[in-house]
Symmetry: C2
């Protein structure tokens, strides 16, 4: 972007790019009821007004300087909440139904340790083995639950501050395939694929965290797989990581590795940069016995927890959107009681992740409008409780990053963001109803989420942005000079060019003519080229060599470097 | 979709399609913290409960019967409004700024006839030739303006009832190219392309109206082009049509053709099935002299008008989103005064269509987040005035129906719908920042808009949908019988399968395995096949042969049949 190009294009482009209901300007016909070069009267070489004379060099300089983080048009933690798919009464009714479900239905299958913890806090173990939760217990635990969670990055610049309606987008798990775009193929995902995803995510401004997106299927031993997942993610990015553990016994080894990466146990506990994504329930209304024990270990180790309830509406959760939310809320409230009974205020994300189902076939469907509603509704429940929450959006049912993937990923992502969802999981790269992860799609997700974040940022209404003065000057003129009749040269236009507008990195805005002149670039080919460029660079998240040696001597590390 | 397939798939699919944070169920590892076939315990051949014994035939019959229109999950006229990108204060400030702009800046270039009409109503002609609007005049005209517009289809089943926050999606103009998807090429659009677009739109449930999407570039004479546009659109669809006229003198001929199609002038005036999309202003703040005269002729002929203000933020409108909305609102308010000074209560859609600009290059950009905000903000201004309104959403900057097109089209479409925009123009098929129209994209737009409409429909919260009883029965059982632990066999799941869930027509939800077995179908190839199938069928909108003869003997009709 340079100043000369800007003005040259500005002078030529509108003729072709004009809206053209009465579009005869293209054919030199009349009338030309909207923008055309003649209407713009842009034949003078310097369209700037006298006040900005000599401003071209200044403009060029301004555009050359990088924007400070707080001036960037979009960033992590923008406030959403403009979208409310549930009314206040709807929210109250869902809350009431969830409390009733906890009180009357309760949850089965808690581990022995969990039964002790929960009944110790005031929950009731029934003859049927189910644990039921009196309302007062739920309310008491909500009162002590952590309301303001910082999910640390290994680099503090990547810290996420979860509260209110602040929005963050990231990946989540866990695909078992990686998508080969050029070959239109699905193959089993490996630790190298996971490492590559981490390195790519590290370079994308609008991917704010990395929950492990793929399973390392080239590692047969599940303990080794869990630890190598940590290694590959942490070595690829300094953003916050999320992962899960197969067995409670594995947590000790994981913590040992995390202490090594952090430098010490104290350093880890001061800034835990990895959290445990924990499917602590098997919907409907059953605890996942082993996962609960994993959670207990993680809490003891100072690791934040994502309380993940992933029911499928119509299969493991009620089919109506409202009912699926009720059940997810009830299950996560049980999780809140569990966590806070162990350690009051321990950071735990309220992970209501109800998924959709294609009721015609019984297959999971994550790219639908119903999915977007499930997630948007959940975000409002999180706000109602005042507890940081997360849900799934941005995943596609399509097998490839095609038009379907684009519309599915945007639908739920932009609605999640506008709903003020704190943690938008599965936001980029995920295909085939969570079965396939695609590196190219992850990269394109950065553009897609950037656009969604621009929508979340919303419309600034102020005396300056209402622009009456600029309108007056443009139409009527200033100091006796005639108005220029367009805004291209206005100071405001230039000053807002970078702070207000988001520009896609790979999204193409050329005219058909330019596009043809560039040999009709293909979106996916360009994206693969960008992927290759990122992966050709050295990871910025690499461990100190002595740390790496220490890890590799203590654990079997599969990743070749 | 048949019952057998449903149950067979339901039993097999969840294993592969399960959410799988702790995803070892795929590898026969533990734990399996969410849905897996074992957890579902679905080994019995008839998962139905005794109450529904023998229900399979009934289910099959139920699914074979078409749904009544009012039972369909989505349809034209669903109520939006859940998204509010502007606060009440923002709206008041934009209104106030627009009134100030009308009072102090006013509009230039009204035709002689318009000056007479407007000053006769109370507007003030200044020495500078600009017409300024006292606030009281604007408020008086808002009071008499039409608040409840019916845009008729030639078939009454396609009538659109515009009021409140009811949402309708359709195409708009006007591309000068048609996109050849297979050839990755742009070529000049023809009357045949326009006719084909009309025939395709006629078959798509979620395309509610057809504003002419393409210019017939194979017709050199502009009068013939305007009339052939009407012919091709009306002959292709019985949905409401929008189009524009190059010269005021052309309107008489157009009305003559419309009277022939309707059967008589009386029949036309009783149910005008075509409206005039009228760019009555050249932003900023100038009347489009000739277009205003076209508008006067259309009003006299009983034709509804779309008052279209298409400024480009940063070029012909202020660059901040708020300022661009202010100007568009001011210009359309001037239009409201104009129309109602001629004929109080004449149906006129408040067409604030501010477009975005890529400020780096000066080229138009319609697929951005800024565009989605411009349109969503405008919808709220329409509601503030209580006047049916329209704006542009769903257009893409991409040249082809690729992933970028998908995310761009969904972003602004779903936000427009959630904002309760009455008329969402440019909602399908539009590419290259309005320069190219694509038939395949139009067809895929039907899926995309169906999904957006599902989001607009929102979440139904009632005692039934909160599903506590179903949850109880599923988890605890009924009448002493153990709960089945899943919802696939629940009555509620079946009964909501078709009324609550939207299924894409071309969007693919197969698993990678099924997809590979089907030879990896390509979204665009499938769409082209659907296009060919539609175009191979006879148009259902054809004129009575005697009418067609009458039109062809009176006008030069270019379309070969």
């Amino acid at each position: 972007m340079n100043a000369l190009t800007f003005w040259w294009r500005a002078r030529l482009a509108p003729a072709e790019a004009a809206p053209h209901e009465g579009d005869q300007c293209r054919f030199d016909r009349k009338p030309c009821p909207d923008l055309c070069p003649k209407a713009l009267d842009m034949n003078d070489e310097t369209p700037s007004s006298p006040r900005r004379a000599g401003g071209r060099a200044a403009r060029r300089a301004m555009r050359a300087a990088p924007l400070a983080t707080d001036k960037r048009p979009v960033r992590a933690g923008l406030e959403g909440g403009q979208l409310r798919v549930l009314s206040d009464i709807d929210i109250a009714n869902i809350h009431e139904a969830a409390l009733t479900a906890l009180e009357e239905i309760g949850l089965a299958d808690a581990p022995e340790s969990g039964i002790k913890i929960l009944t110790g806090a005031g929950a009731i173990l029934g003859d049927d083995g189910r644990i039921r939760f009196p309302r007062a217990l739920v309310e008491d635990m909500l009162a002590v639950a952590c309301k303001d969670i910082t999910l640390c990055g290994r680099d503090p610049v990547n810290d996420l501050h979860l509260n209110g309606k602040k929005v963050h987008f990231g990946t989540a798990g866990a695909a078992v395939h990686v998508v080969d775009v050029a070959g239109r193929d699905y193959r089993e995902s490996t630790v190298q694929d996971l490492f590559d995803a981490a390195r790519i995510a590290d370079r994308l401004d609008n991917i704010h965290f990395l929950q492990r997106p793929m399973v390392c299927r080239d590692i047969a031993d599940s303990y080794e797989m869990d630890l190598n997942t940590i290694y590959a993610c942490c070595r690829g990015t300094t953003k916050h990581i999320g992962t899960s553990f197969t067995e409670p016994d594995y947590v000790a080894g994981a913590l040992e590795m995390l202490h090594l990466i952090a430098g010490s146990e104290e350093a880890w506990r001061a800034r835990p940069f990895l959290s445990n994504s924990n499917c602590f329930v098997v919907p409907p209304m059953k605890f996942a016995t082993e996962a609960c024990r994993v959670m207990e270990e993680c809490i003891a180790g100072g690791m934040p927890v994502l309380l993940l309830s992933a029911g499928m509406a119509g299969a493991t959760a009620p089919s109506p959107v409202a009912g699926a939310i009720v059940q997810a809320v009830a299950e996560c409230l049980a999780g809140v009681v569990y966590v806070n009974a162990i350690k009051p205020g321990h950071p735990a994300v309220f992970g209501t992740w109800p998924f959709g189902l294609d009721l015609r076939t019984g297959a999971m469907s994550v790219g639908s409008g119903e999915q977007a509603l499930l997630t948007a509704g959940c975000a409002q429940m999180h706000h109602f409780y005042g507890i940081p929450g997360g849900a799934a959006a941005g995943a596609s049912d399509s097998k490839l990053p095609d038009m379907q993937a684009g519309w599915e990923q945007m639908c739920s992502n932009v609605m999640a963001g506008l709903s003020g969802l704190n943690m938008v999981y599965e936001a980029a790269g995920m295909h085939a109803s969570l079965l396939g992860f695609c590196h190219e799609s992850l990269i394109l997700g950065d553009d897609l989420i950037g656009q969604a974040l621009r929508c979340v940022r919303g419309i600034e209404v102020s005396e300056e942005t209402l622009a009456l003065d600029v309108m007056r000057a443009t139409c009527l003129g200033v100091d006796g000079a005639k108005g220029v009749g367009h805004y291209l040269g206005a100071d405001q236009t230039l000053s807002r060019m970078e702070t207000d507008y988001v520009y896609p990195s790979l999204g193409d805005r050329t005219s058909p003519k330019e596009w043809a002149e560039k040999d009709k670039p293909d979106l996916l080919e360009n994206t693969t080229a960008k992927k290759d460029a990122i992966l050709a660079e050295r990871s910025l998240a690499e461990f100190d060599p002595t740390v790496d040696v220490a890890i590799r001597s203590r654990f079997k590390v599969h990743l070749k470097l």
